[in-house]
């Protein structure tokens, strides 16, 4: 699993890790039932404290994205809402392409809807 963080930004590192994983769950890059790497291994590869990764995993659990099981680690749960969202976004993107609407306009539209 790939994780990219930027320790110099104001967003806490644990939140960045959680967001990075959440994005991959939403896009299907990380599949339902897949085990996330052991916190110790992910922390070692990123060069961060193991508690930072554990905190990220807890965030994901609180969001209902993963299940933390003793001995099995963090397991990705099926999130039907994420899948439904992905389908809706895919349809919007297809329609935008067909109508010749540039991606910037599509993103602006999504932002406007989200913030309204």
């Amino acid at each position: 699993m790939f994780v990219l963080i930027d320790p110099t930004t104001v967003t806490p590192v644990f939140a960045q890790i959680a967001e990075s994983i959440a994005t991959q769950i939403a896009t299907g890059t990380v599949a339902t039932g897949e085990r996330l790497p052991a916190a110790k291994d992910l922390a070692g590869s990123l060069g961060v404290n193991v508690h930072t990764v554990l905190r990220a995993y807890q965030e994901l659990r609180n969001d209902g994205q993963v299940e933390l099981r003793r001995g099995r680690g963090a397991v990705v749960l099926g999130t039907p809402t994420a899948e439904a969202l992905r389908v809706a976004v895919a349809r919007a993107a297809t329609e935008a392409k067909a109508a010749g609407i540039p991606i910037g306009t599509l993103l602006a539209l999504i932002r406007k809807e989200y913030e309204s």
């Binding site: 699993m1 963080i5 590869s45």
Partner: protein
């Protein structure tokens, strides 16, 4: 070691001759001697030496034994060697083992037991002599085989990620044996242990060495069942889930990373945790559990590690990021 360096086709031919035709010639020659001695000597030969009375059998017992062991050994070693030599960078120890095994059973156990049958030196001399001859023949084969010229063209490194200097990219993956395979081995070892317990209960504690093989099997499976692979600013690490074996390439010795096509049999002579001399005649570790795309990570000195992880492209890109920024 032979200093003759030849191309892949010639090296392959020599290796196949040593694995198939040389053992076949040894078996045929041994059969001629066994049949010759057996047909002209006494019709019954000793087949079991023991503390008590010896047991005898018809002379052709040995002729059958030499063929019954020799031909399957040649068939199995030949089958694997034909597959293992399809690509560059073959092993030269497999032909050596084929010749060694054949010398041991055909010359030592077969010819030796027949020629020295009534001698007080049997069965010690045929056995010990067979072992010595087998090791000598194996070493000679290994020494005589021509060496394959190192592959000149290397693999292309992956593209680095567009990571900014204050960002940190990392990747983790796993190399796992299929769970059905682990279950199979664990069941087999479990059955052997149950059998061992029942034998200890009926025959006494002195049969304890019966536990050695299944215990060793369980330990090996446990240790090699799953490897954790990580890539990041610290470099590249392959580690068994139990902590050992552990291999690491620090970022400063990281030369390049690439996605390569892996065929465990052809590249490493089998599955699991392996070490071979690679196509460039540098040490190549393999943690390989399947065919298909894998990740190969090179040290600056040319040695490399191959792992059959999922998504090797991302892993290679992460490693390339740190290989280039550290250069």
């Amino acid at each position: 070691m032979s200093t003759r360096v030849v191309d892949h086709a010639t090296a392959r031919r020599a290796a196949l001759v040593a694995t198939i035709w040389v053992p076949l010639a040894i078996v045929v020659a041994a059969e001629i001697v066994v049949v010759g001695v057996g047909a002209t000597g006494s019709s019954r030969l000793i087949t079991h030496w023991g503390a008590g009375a010896v047991r005898t059998g018809p002379w052709w017992t040995y002729a059958v034994l030499v063929a019954a062991i020799g031909l399957p050994v040649i068939a199995i070693m030949g089958f694997f060697m034909v597959r293992a030599t399809r690509m560059a960078g073959m092993n030269t120890w497999m032909p050596a083992i084929a010749v060694g095994i054949t010398i041991f059973h055909a010359v030592g156990m077969g010819v030796g037991s027949v020629v020295l049958n009534a001698s007080p030196l049997a069965p010690a001399l045929p056995l010990a002599g067979g072992v010595v001859l087998a090791i000598a023949a194996a070493l000679l084969t290994w020494w005589l085989l021509p060496r394959e010229a190192p592959a000149t063209e290397g693999v292309d490194a992956a593209d680095a990620l567009p990571v900014r200097s204050h960002e940190v990219a990392a990747w983790t993956g796993r190399v796992e044996l299929p769970s059905w395979f682990i279950a199979l081995i664990a069941t087999a070892a479990g059955l052997l242990i149950v059998l061992g317990v029942s034998l200890v209960l009926t025959l006494g504690a002195h049969v304890w060495p019966i536990f050695l093989a299944p215990t060793l099997l369980l330990v090996v499976v446990l240790v090699t069942a799953q490897f954790v692979v990580t890539a990041g600013p610290g470099g590249f690490i392959v580690r068994s889930v139990v902590g050992w074996p552990y291999l690491r390439i620090p970022a400063e010795s990281l030369a390049k990373a690439a996605v390569v096509a892996v065929d465990p049999m052809a590249d490493f002579g089998g599955w699991g945790c392996r070490w071979v001399l690679g196509p460039t005649r540098k040490g190549r570790w393999g943690f390989v559990t399947r065919r298909g795309p894998g990740l190969e990570v090179f040290r600056r000195d040319g040695r490399s590690i191959v792992v059959t992880v999922d998504d090797p492209g991302t892993a290679a890109a992460v490693l390339e990021t740190y290989a280039t920024t550290q250069a």
